[in-house]
Chain length 160, copies 2
């Protein structure tokens, strides 16, 4: 496991995300790392992240898969270019499309692990396929189509 | 607009969801209503629900569409049976599959409105198609496949 998470490389203006921004004091602080060819995040839900008591609500699972996928997409794009995440120009991704299949109820008292692989890395697009586990049980499966953030978003002059 | 939200009819054991549970003090308190043939929820993001500064993070959008869809599925199922939501037996839904297309950046300073319609209501399944708007702009589109919660989840003896 790398010591520095993918999200630790984000410039300040893209480090405020509720899901994965290190500068969002209210946020989830999702952090993603390489484990071989997989991008992996580990997250322990808070007691209030409940659906039915004892189980995790679907929005948190979608959030984990979403933010982990955009971080993983960036890491994969750097790796495809053969360079480190602290080199220029920066590559940052947003989600164009997210699909989550909820396979089983996800227990609230477990550490959740999302393991992501890459279906496609081409041009400005990275497709990330992931599975969310509680222990050995695959509880959800995700697919995120991530696209590279336009350069002007990274220049502190963000507009849609 | 109905005065009582769909979620106000949920029994106590299914009213703790972070997204839509009235009894979750940390949660989003998503509330859904009929407007003609559409199920509608309105939500004002908190300042910390940010992605890039000024815009809403994708996980919140997924959460809104997810919880609104399960509430809407229940309401549509009651309506299909020609009975009110406070009649027995209770019908509650969970999400089996969620897809969100992020069409445009969603502004953080707007009231968000999710409008849902029903593609399929059959057996224990309801398919909910929705659009999320900020003002007149459609910023995201969702499809949720919702399935009826097994009866034993509603009896206070929940297990997967």
């Amino acid at each position: 496991m790398t010591e520095r998470a993918f999200q630790d490389y984000y410039d300040e203006q893209v480090a405020h995300c509720y899901g994965c921004g290190r500068l969002n004091e209210h946020g989830l602080h999702i952090r993603s790392f390489w484990e071989g060819d997989e991008a992996v995040t580990r997250f322990r839900p808070r007691p209030y992240h409940t659906a039915i008591p004892g189980y995790v609500y679907g929005g948190l699972i979608a959030s984990l898969i979403d933010c982990h996928s955009t971080g993983a997409a960036a890491a994969a794009a750097y790796r495809a270019e053969g360079r480190e995440m602290d080199t220029e120009p920066p590559l940052r991704y947003v989600t164009a499309s997210l699909k989550v299949d909820y396979l089983k109820p996800t227990p609230l008292d477990a550490e959740l692990v999302v393991r992501a692989r890459f279906t496609e890395i081409k041009g400005r697009k990275v497709v990330v396929a992931s599975s969310l586990y509680a222990g050995d049980v695959e509880c959800a499966r995700g697919e995120a189509v991530c696209v590279q953030l336009p350069d002007h978003w990274l220049e502190g002059t963000a507009s849609p």
